[in-house]
């Protein structure tokens, strides 16, 4: 079957890029019109993505690759190229869809901001680079886009630049993710010098690593894998580089939905999946991935239990879910990971947008000041509820299926990981329940005025919610025990996933996960849902534990002591060194010359006979030194 649309896949990023160019060129004057332009662009690329996916639905669609020579320096030839596989097609759909919805949503969410066109320009640039990242056929191109999405997220986090917190959060996000990026960069350098004929594209990677060819030593492979994973850790907010993601919630809520829930943060998972051959070639690396993923999952979920900012709760749940995906990858089930990524994108975006709609209504993010909103904004409440249930893994919502697959994979890897995952599931359900009940049920705890004026958001915001809700419900059925379509389709090409059906129907798993989620929800209802349940019920029972959780295990403080302060100290020390020692040496030379001059001036006392004596002394020294050698 012919693949016309895949050949023009490069148009997908081009639409938003053009939009970005137009918006920046036009400048702020554009206002609302700019927003329209950007939205139209994202619509175009969404359509294209759908077409591409559609033509690939048939199983035997072969991959399409197109590349140009980007730069030739001496022996080095670097390419820029794109590749369309089923995996990329899937990602294309996800990204463009969410982007489109967020664009629509923002049309009304951001309408009062005078920099709205700037906002949409950034979003467009982000969409473009994200699509580029997805389409890239080699690691260098990916790295370029990788950095670009990072910058866009930085720009959007700091979009409300007058807020000091926003500034700090933006800086933090950029720097922390950069740590990971450097790992990726070194990995690329290593690959360049060690791959046969310096190839960096996935196909060659597949050929080299998959065929167990002895091109690279095991240790080297592991090193490369780990470095790539470091990059993923940075982007996907895995422990220990997760600290930036919660702070990133300073950005406008649609951005949190688009970048920090659905797409960019998932890029790390995508990267690992894309270069999965490297990881498969090194079991140790896989184990590391699994462990980091599992730990992050439970760790973030635990923190999520005690947060009071609606967006931060979601942020930590994002971190935790990304941990799930990493766990799946680490367990060798890339398909499961991608599946979870797929579903998660929808319900997490849904949750964020719903949260946005809430914030839009009550102008606060602190759940302790909310409550009873369910009666005021039914649609939001319902959609949020669906998302929450999906996230908690309640069948038959999409979250259940994907989490199921992950858990199954984990169980294959090791029972301990499985256990951890199950507990995480329980936590997840618990904090989602807490969130839902505190926000939507019970009676309002904020000022009455706000509550009274809180009303359902306009259609532009609710429609995306509904769409996402539908998807949340439906998306899960692409891979159910009785319909293993997705893994097969993914395996059809690209990341190459033989042992696709990692999930399978495993009674234990299902039972455990369902039990965990239901238990969690029940707990949540008991503590927060019932009449007269106190907000700080948990805090009252176990204050110490709760404080630790509220302070996020003091990780930020730890880093501050461990890295930030020492760097500053070192800097100041070097500054002194520079002034005193290095420059001091220079000054010393100058001074000594000056001193010699002064000495000479002192000699010029006007006393003729002093001159004479000096001269005589000089003469004697000269003669003794030179003629003397001959005679003594």
């Amino acid at each position: 079957m012919d693949i016309v649309f895949s050949q023009v896949a490069w148009l997908a990023p081009l639409f938003p890029l053009t939009a970005f160019a137009v918006l920046t060129a036009m400048g702020r004057g554009l206002g609302k019109a700019g927003a329209i332009v950007a939205t139209a662009a994202s619509l175009l690329s969404f359509v294209l993505a759908l077409l591409i996916a559609a033509e690939r639905l048939g199983d035997s669609a072969e991959d399409y690759t197109g590349r140009i020579e980007w730069l030739r320096a001496g022996g080095v030839v670097l390419h820029a190229g794109y590749e369309v596989t089923n995996l990329t097609a899937l990602m294309l759909v996800i990204v463009t869809l969410v982007a489109l919805l967020v664009n629509v949503y923002s049309l009304s969410y951001m309408k009062d901001d005078e920099r709205i066109s700037v906002f949409f320009a950034y979003v467009a640039l982000f969409t473009a680079s994200m699509l580029g990242l997805v389409l890239a056929d080699n690691l260098l191109t990916l790295y370029v886009c990788w950095e670009l999405v990072g910058v866009c997220s930085f720009l959007l986090i700091g979009f409300w630049f007058r807020k000091p917190e926003a500034r700090a959060a933006a800086k933090k996000a950029f720097v922390v993710t950069r740590i990971g990026d450097l790992g990726l960069l070194i990995a690329i350098l290593l690959l360049y010098w060690n791959m046969p004929n310096h190839a960096l594209d996935y196909t060659s990677l597949y050929n080299v690593f998959h065929s167990q060819s002895e091109a690279l030593s095991d240790s080297l492979t592991t090193l490369i894998a780990l470095l790539i994973f470091l990059g993923a850790v940075g982007k996907s907010g895995q422990f220990p580089l997760h600290v930036w993601l919660p702070d990133a919630m300073e950005g406008p809520t649609p951005i949190s939905a688009l970048i920090h829930a659905a797409t960019m943060v998932a890029a790390g998972v995508y990267l690992v999946a894309r270069t999965f051959d490297v990881f498969e070639a090194s079991p140790n690396a896989l184990t590391v991935v699994a462990l980091v993923g599992a730990f992050t999952a439970i760790f973030a979920a635990a923190i999520g239990l005690a947060q009071n900012d609606i967006k931060r709760v979601l942020a930590y749940s994002t971190v935790s879910q990304l941990g799930y995906m990493m766990l799946a990858l680490g367990s060798g089930a890339a398909a499961a990971a991608m599946f979870h990524l797929f579903t998660h994108a929808f319900f997490k975006a849904l949750l964020f947008l719903a949260a946005g709609s809430v914030i839009h209504a009550v102008h606060t993010q602190d759940i302790r000041e909310m409550g009873g909103l369910g009666r005021r904004m039914k649609l939001t409440a319902w959609t949020f509820g669906i998302g929450a249930l999906a996230l908690s893994g309640v069948p038959p919502l999409s979250g259940f299926w994907s989490k199921d697959a992950v858990l199954a994979a984990a169980l294959e890897k090791s029972p301990w990981l499985f256990a951890v995952a199950v507990v995480t599931a329980l936590f997840t359900a618990l904090y989602m329940a807490r969130l839902f009940f505190l926000v939507f049920t019970g009676s309002s705890r904020g000022e009455a005025v706000v509550y009274v004026h809180a009303k359902e958001s306009p259609a532009a915001m609710t429609v995306p919610l509904v769409i996402l809700a539908v998807l949340t419900v439906a998306a899960g059925f692409v891979w159910t025990p009785w319909n293993e379509w997705l893994p097969g389709w993914l395996a059809g090409s690209g990341a190459g996933e033989e042992e696709a059906g990692a999930g399978g129907w495993n009674g234990v798993v299902v039972a455990a996960s369902v039990a965990a989620s239901l238990l969690g929800l029940l707990l949540g209802w008991l503590v927060y849902g019932r009449k007269g349940a106190a907000v700080s019920a948990a805090a009252a029972k176990a204050p110490g534990l709760v404080r630790i959780l509220e302070r996020k295990f003091y990780i930020d403080e730890l880093y501050d002591i461990a890295f930030v302060r020492p760097l500053a100290v070192l800097g100041r020390a070097l500054h002194v060194f520079d002034e005193v020692v290095v420059d001091g040496a220079v000054r010393l030379v100058g001074r000594s010359v000056q001193a010699a001059g002064k000495l000479n001036t002192r000699l010029l006392s006007g006393q003729l006979q002093t001159y004479g004596l000096a001269a005589l002394a000089g003469a004697v020294i000269l003669i003794v030194a030179i003629a003397g050698r001959r005679f003594w």
């Binding site: 000479n600 004479g612 000269l622």
Partner: protein, 514 residues
């Protein structure tokens, strides 16, 4: 052995024409000065002196031409008078031209600037310059210790008087006294050395000494060393090489500005000429017989040069008085001028004289020019302090520009005569692998940036407290611009001069051939 004394023939007077002309002009002008009534300004005598200098120069040029024609005719291009106690050769002639030219510039400049309160009896100054130059010329072209000594003293004594010419200022007298004592002591050292030289070799003829020195060293080396080191000390005093330099700033400051620049240029040049005559004709000539003596002496010269360069610039760092500053930079430049003589003569490096005279010429130009500017500025600011230069860029932009060129040349920045002069000397140093000396020269150059920076700072970066424009008298302005232009020209086209010098001068014929 008793040599037959060759007497002076009428025919020989032709070869002495330049010297005779100068002597004649001196007498005539002196009488004129007495005869002329007071009301007539003494500038006439100045112009007369200028005329005399030019006339002498013409004759020198004529001689140079003659000699080159002889060379083409296959005849050795030099002439011995009084069987070699006086030589007319290219070495002498070239230096004579330099001296005459320099003096002419100085006289011309002084015609504009000297006021009665600086030199009460102007005429005196003008007709005393001539015998001084005469002395310098004699030093340049003598082949005998006695004549050398006469020339030296002629120059010395007249310049004592010139230094004292600024009767009004007490410092002038003090400077003169200091100069007399130093100069006298220096001559005493030189003479004492000469006496030993004569004693060891039994001849006062440089050629004779050169022939005999080999055995002398063999017999009693100590005496020869004594002789030469006495000479070195004497010349070090005369050239104000460190650490024999302390008198120079005082004398330069006290003397009238034109005299100062005369001392800085002509007196130094003459001393160098004498140094060349003696050392090349004896030590270098006897190299074949005895390398050790030569190595020691030349090492001494190198050390002196290095010391002079460093001490000179270092000392100049803190000077606030323009003339003292230039005096100390003169010390450094004396060191630089000494280098070529001190370098070995090898297959690949024999161009010591070209290096020397090229830098001497550049130095003459920049020094004369700089002193002319100093004179002009001092006239405006009533002081010779550097602060007098403040804001010169506003007050006299063109003069400031010229001064910038001259200062650049002093600092050895391209593209100026000073730069190429230093470059050639450096190249010689590197060719003879005296890297340490090259390093010292470069170091002193870098330090000298600081020194000359003080001029630039005053001229460009400081607003003068007196923003009144400086009036530049025509003759002085002329000199300033001649110097500046020539400096730049020497920077862009050193070739003609060097070709010319190379064509005329040759170690063997000018020094060694009898």
């Amino acid at each position: 052995m008793q040599t037959v004394v060759q007497t002076l023939t009428w025919h020989d007077t032709w070869y002495l024409a330049p010297e005779i002309v100068l002597a004649a002009f001196t007498i005539v002008l002196a009488i004129l000065d007495l005869a002329l009534p007071k009301r007539i300004g003494r500038n006439i005598i100045g112009w007369g002196a200028l005329l005399g200098l030019i006339a002498a120069g013409v004759f020198v040029g004529w001689h140079i031409h003659d000699l080159s024609t002889w060379e083409e005719a296959g005849k050795e291009p030099f002439r011995n008078l009084l069987d070699g106690s006086y030589r007319v050769d290219d070495f002498g002639n070239l230096l004579k031209l330099v001296f005459l030219g320099a003096t002419a510039l100085i006289v011309l400049a002084s015609l504009g600037t000297t006021r009665t309160d600086e030199i009460p009896i102007k005429g005196e100054f003008y007709y005393l310059v001539l015998p001084a130059v005469l002395g310098a010329m004699v030093m340049a072209s003598s082949g005998d210790l006695i004549t050398l000594f006469i020339g030296m003293e002629l120059l010395g004594i007249t310049s004592y008087v010139l230094v004292a010419a600024r009767k009004s200022a007490g410092i002038s007298g003090e400077a003169a006294f200091k100069y007399v004592v130093t100069g006298g002591t220096a001559s005493a050292f030189v003479l004492y050395g000469m006496s030993f030289l004569y004693g060891m070799t039994g001849s006062t003829r440089l050629s004779g000494i050169g022939d005999a020195i080999g055995n002398a060293v063999a017999e009693s080396p100590a005496m020869v060393y004594v002789a030469f080191f006495l000479l070195i000390v004497g010349f070090a005093l005369k050239l104000a090489l460190a650490p024999f330099h302390a008198w120079a700033p005082d004398v330069y400051q006290g003397a009238p500005t034109p005299v100062t620049s005369f001392l800085g240029v002509v007196a130094k040049g003459a001393a160098f000429a004498m140094l060349y005559r003696i050392f090349v004709n004896t030590a270098l000539y006897a190299y074949a017989d005895n390398t050790q003596l030569r190595d020691d002496l030349y090492l001494a010269l190198k050390v002196l040069a290095a010391a002079a360069m460093l001490v000179g610039v270092a000392g100049a760092l803190r000077q606030q008085n323009a003339k003292r500053l230039l005096a100390l930079s003169g010390v450094a430049n004396a060191g630089i001028l000494l280098i070529p003589l001190a370098l070995d003569v090898t297959n690949f490096h024999a161009s010591l004289f070209s290096e020397f005279i090229y830098y001497l010429l550049a130095y003459v130009l920049m020094n004369a020019g700089a002193f002319a500017v100093v004179a002009v500025v001092a006239r405006g600011a009533k002081s010779e302090e550097l602060s007098g230069f403040a804001g010169l860029y506003h007050r006299a932009p063109w003069t400031a520009a010229a001064m910038t060129v001259l200062v650049c040349s002093l600092a050895g920045l391209p593209v100026t005569g000073g730069f190429f002069g230093k470059l050639f000397i450096l190249f010689g140093t590197v060719q003879t692998k005296e890297y340490w000396l090259a390093a010292v020269l470069l170091a002193s150059t870098v330090i000298s940036y600081y020194v000359y920076f003080s001029f630039i700072r005053q001229m460009y970066l400081r607003g003068g407290e007196s923003e009144l424009p400086v009036t530049v008298p025509v003759p002085t302005g002329l000199v300033i611009w001649i110097c500046a232009a020539a400096t730049v020209a020497m920077g862009f086209l050193p070739k003609p001069i060097l070709e010319w010098v190379d064509g005329l001068f040759s170690l063997t014929t000018d020094f060694f051939s009898r």
